[in-house]
């Protein structure tokens, strides 16, 4: 450690790393950066049984930390991070995820977001199943969990840079006494953009041994980076001891190794002829989505574009560095976390610097690319890099810019209001300029910094925009911007987006192909069943520390002969085996679903406690349901006309365009109401979306304070 660096220790808590037993450290870490209090909290057996870990632990800790009226910027709001009992396994791919939970600045309810990188597993191996950070520091601080020195500190480090790509290199140099120590350091940070916007993401670092540099994966949804910077935290850091592949001390190591070897073989055999994740990452989706009319283009008006081929997987395969083990945690042979090396920046404060750009992943390509009408790969890389280092969620940023672009194209904004920018779809230079403004807290960047929901209010209040039109085209639900799939022709996906706890992120349910293309869930009941099973199944990954991708992005073709191929039963069995083998708690798929149901319903009640989480909050914007504008209708006229004939028995030839659009709107919105009824019933909720007392009792989460929230709401409904 160099002596020149100023490290002003504000608080210190000595501790000894306990032995990890069956995936658990059996304690969590509480840090208050406002008061300097640091303490350990025990993890009870009941906590493990009912909340499992990961997001479950996050929510349980957060529930006890906040009040009914806590806002995102209240001192008692917390950032809670946990991996889960299987986090840190190196024998099964995709076992190093961390889950972040906080009260969100954009949705004002609970947001959760997952990321790869090394923080969660290293935190656990340093003795902590979760970290909860509360309070607001006076000046910028670091929270450093140092397992080598056996202490947790809150420190001021006034020389530390702000933006993540600089901060990471600086901090790793400061903390590592020997170069190899960098392998076992991980940090969570944001950047200057997160200081000036509600769209702040968290960068989770990992040390790339081949590149000898720090890289980052993002937990981005709902603005956790904004909360971090509002607390005046520059970084949460862990400095761990070297560890071995059995660091979780699982109950049955041999069983884990056997299941792991099986899936590694599957990946080695099939990835190269399926999605080629090992070569191009999730960018393989661009072309497919465009071919199936599902790629958001121009603020979700359209679903495909001929220039999509300029930014498709085949292109990125030529652009990202090949041949490196790009896993975001050890042992992940899917290795989809690619990067473009030596990218020379053309704009902004780091113009001329050569940098590593992590990604771009599909969601980012869609958000800052196609949905803004931008198909220039260099512009996408530049936007991607700056969003990351500034600590900005690419999905939310892209949606907000595409919303503002449409506002410009319809005349709600003009050059006077944009500060001279011609904010048309496709103008990458304008998007970059606004991003830099956002990071400086200036100009139009201040409106983009609000996210779509608050930007809607802004243009209504300041520029007299038509509230209905603005509501229709702004792609957000609950205050969270949509991830990158067009759901207009998939009712189930409309529910998969909006009938969610945190908002329209596809990590709960991705049903477009099952529904729209394959027609495997034709009835309301079928869709409701899918909107029960898949959200519960996918929630479970975030309780345990797993990445969802190895579940369904590489699959042995013999899966197609199974009774329910969409569930990928032999991979489900792998997870049953791994969880049982780590924890020694023998489970089956029903128990897995029950674990998720407990946490899922608990999160729903938590949102109700914070004043939301009801039916009225579960409606999508109409842009996500059907054609808002004449231009959109005309772009798919044949399909929409045919639907009028088949669905409604109408003769489109005898109708005006306005009549046809009105008929669609009436039908599509009514159909969505019926879906809500079916889903709520399947989930054991009232028509207003409130979990019933019976449901909570059946799940074993009928804690008095939980029941009190629900009973109060149910009484009000009566």
């Amino acid at each position: 450690m160099t002596n020149k660096i100023i490290r002003h220790v504000l608080a210190e808590f000595p501790y000894q790393t306990p032995r990890i037993e069956r995936g658990y450290a059996n304690q969590t870490l509480y840090v208050n950066v406002g008061t300097g209090e640091i303490k350990a909290k025990p993890v009870s057996d009941e906590m493990k049984l009912k909340f499992t870990g990961g997001k479950g632990f996050d929510l349980w800790l957060l529930w006890h930390a906040v009040h009914d009226d806590t806002k995102w910027d209240s001192p008692e709001n917390e950032i809670v991070i946990s991996t889960g009992p299987c986090g840190g396994i190196t024998q099964y791919p995709g076992s190093g995820k961390s889950l972040v939970t906080t009260v969100s600045p954009t949705t004002e309810i609970i947001t959760d977001s997952n990321a790869g990188g090394h923080f969660g597993p290293l935190l656990k191996f340093s003795g902590w199943d979760a970290i909860e950070v509360q309070g607001i520091a006076e000046k910028d601080v670091m929270v450093i969990v140092d397992a080598i020195e056996g202490k947790v500190t809150i420190e001021e480090m006034p020389d530390a840079p702000n933006d993540t790509h600089l901060l990471g290199r600086w901090l790793y140099d400061v903390l590592a006494e020997k170069p190899q120590e960098k392998y076992y350091i991980a940090m969570v940070s944001a950047g200057t953009g997160a200081e000036h916007s509600l769209l702040g993401c968290l960068n989770f670092s990992l040390y790339d041994r081949k590149r000898q540099d720090v890289r980052y994966k993002q937990a981005a949804r709902g603005g956790p980076g904004t909360v971090l910077r509002q607390k005046h935290i520059k970084a949460l850091v862990v400095r761990a001891q070297p560890f071995k592949g059995d660091a979780n001390h699982p109950a049955d190591m041999e069983r884990i190794a056997r299941v792991g070897a099986d899936i590694q073989r599957e990946i080695a055999t099939w990835d190269s002829v399926q999605n080629r994740m090992r070569n191009r990452g999730t960018s393989y989706l661009v072309e497919i989505m465009s071919d199936y009319d599902l790629l958001p283009v121009n603020n979700f008006k359209f679903g495909s574009h001929p220039q999509a081929r300029d930014i498709n997987g085949a292109y990125w395969e030529t652009r990202v560095t090949q041949g490196l083990p790009d896993g975001c945690w050890y042992g992940c042979t899917v290795a989809c976390a690619h990067a473009v090396d030596g990218f020379e920046l053309q704009t902004g404060p780091y113009k001329g610097h050569k940098v590593i750009v992590d990604g771009p992943e599909y969601e980012t390509i869609g958000a800052i690319g196609s949905t803004c009408g931008i198909f220039d790969p260099d512009a996408i890389l530049e936007l991607n890099f700056y969003c990351d280092t500034y600590g900005i969620d690419t999905i939310s940023y892209g949606n907000t810019i595409s919303f503002l672009m449409e506002c410009y194209e319809v005349g709600i904004l003009d050059q006077e209001k944009t500060g001279g920018l011609e904010l048309t779809f496709g103008n990458a230079a304008a998007s970059l300029e606004i991003l830099h403004q956002l990071a400086r807290g200036e100009g139009l960047g201040k409106i983009a910094a609000l996210g779509v929901r608050k930007a809607k209010t802004y243009v209504i209040e300041h520029y007299g925009a038509d509230p209905q039109f603005v509501q229709d085209i702004g792609m957000e639900n609950k205050g969270m911007e949509y991830s990158m799939y067009m759901g207009k022709e998939s009712l189930a996906q409309q529910g998969g987006y909006a009938l969610t706890n945190k908002g329209p992120q596809h990590d709960e349910a991705w049903l477009i192909f099952m529904d729209q293309v394959n027609n495997q869930i034709p009835t309301f009941e079928d869709k409701a069943e899918a909107l029960h099973y898949f959200p519960m199944w996918r929630t479970w990954f975030g309780l345990c520390g797993f990445c969802k991708l190895p579940w369904n992005d590489v699959v042995d073709p013999k899966n197609s002969k199974s009774a329910e191929p969409a569930k990928i039963p032999h991979h489900v069995q792998n997870y049953v085996d791994i969880f049982s083998a780590v924890t020694g708690r023998e489970v089956d798929i029903n128990e897995i679903i029950a674990m998720s149901e407990r946490v899922y319903n608990f999160q729903r009640v938590f949102n109700i406690r914070l004043g939301k989480g009801l039916r009225e909050h579960d409606y999508p914007p109409y842009r996500g349901v059907g054609p808002v504008t004449e231009e959109e209708y005309e772009s798919r006229r044949e399909r929409y006309d045919q639907q009028l004939r088949e669905w409604l028995g109408l003769d489109p030839d005898a109708m005006t365009l306005q009549e046809k659009m009105a008929a669609h709107r009436h039908y599509r919105t009514e159909r969505y109401e019926r879906l809500m009824d079916a889903v709520y019933e399947r989930r054991g909720w009232t028509r207003n979306g409130v979990p019933t007392v019976e449901k909570l009792k059946a799940l074993g989460i009928d804690f008095p304070e939980v029941l009190a929230v629900v009973e109060k709401k149910l009484r009000a409904e009566d």
């Binding site: 002829v273 399926q274 999605n275 989706l285 072309e287 497919i288 071919d291 199936y292 991830s483 799939y485 596809h506 990590d507 991705w510 477009i512 192909f513 099952m514 293309v517 394959n518 027609n519 495997q520 034709p522 579940w551 369904n552 992005d553 699959v555 073709p557 899966n559 197609s560 191929p565 969409a566 990928i568």
Partner: protein, 66 residues
């Protein structure tokens, strides 16, 4: 006429193959199962497999994405 995925009716003509349907529908995703009247068609045989009139054709995409 043939039925695609129990929903859509498509024109039938003499010599219509599985490949033709995939092209017509821009079904480019490689990981699919095609069946005609319940019989699964080999991946390698799409170009030469003829679809009879009135057939019940299913093209199931094995993508659970996102």
């Amino acid at each position: 006429m043939i039925t695609l995925n129990k929903r859509e009716e498509l024109e039938w003509h003499e010599g219509l193959t599985v490949q033709d349907i995939l092209k017509q529908k821009t079904f480019t995703y490689p990981h699919i199962i095609v069946s005609i009247n319940g019989a699964v068609i080999d991946h390698d045989a799409y170009a030469e497999t003829l679809i009879p009139d009135e057939a019940d054709v299913r093209v199931i995409h094995l993508i659970a994405g996102g």
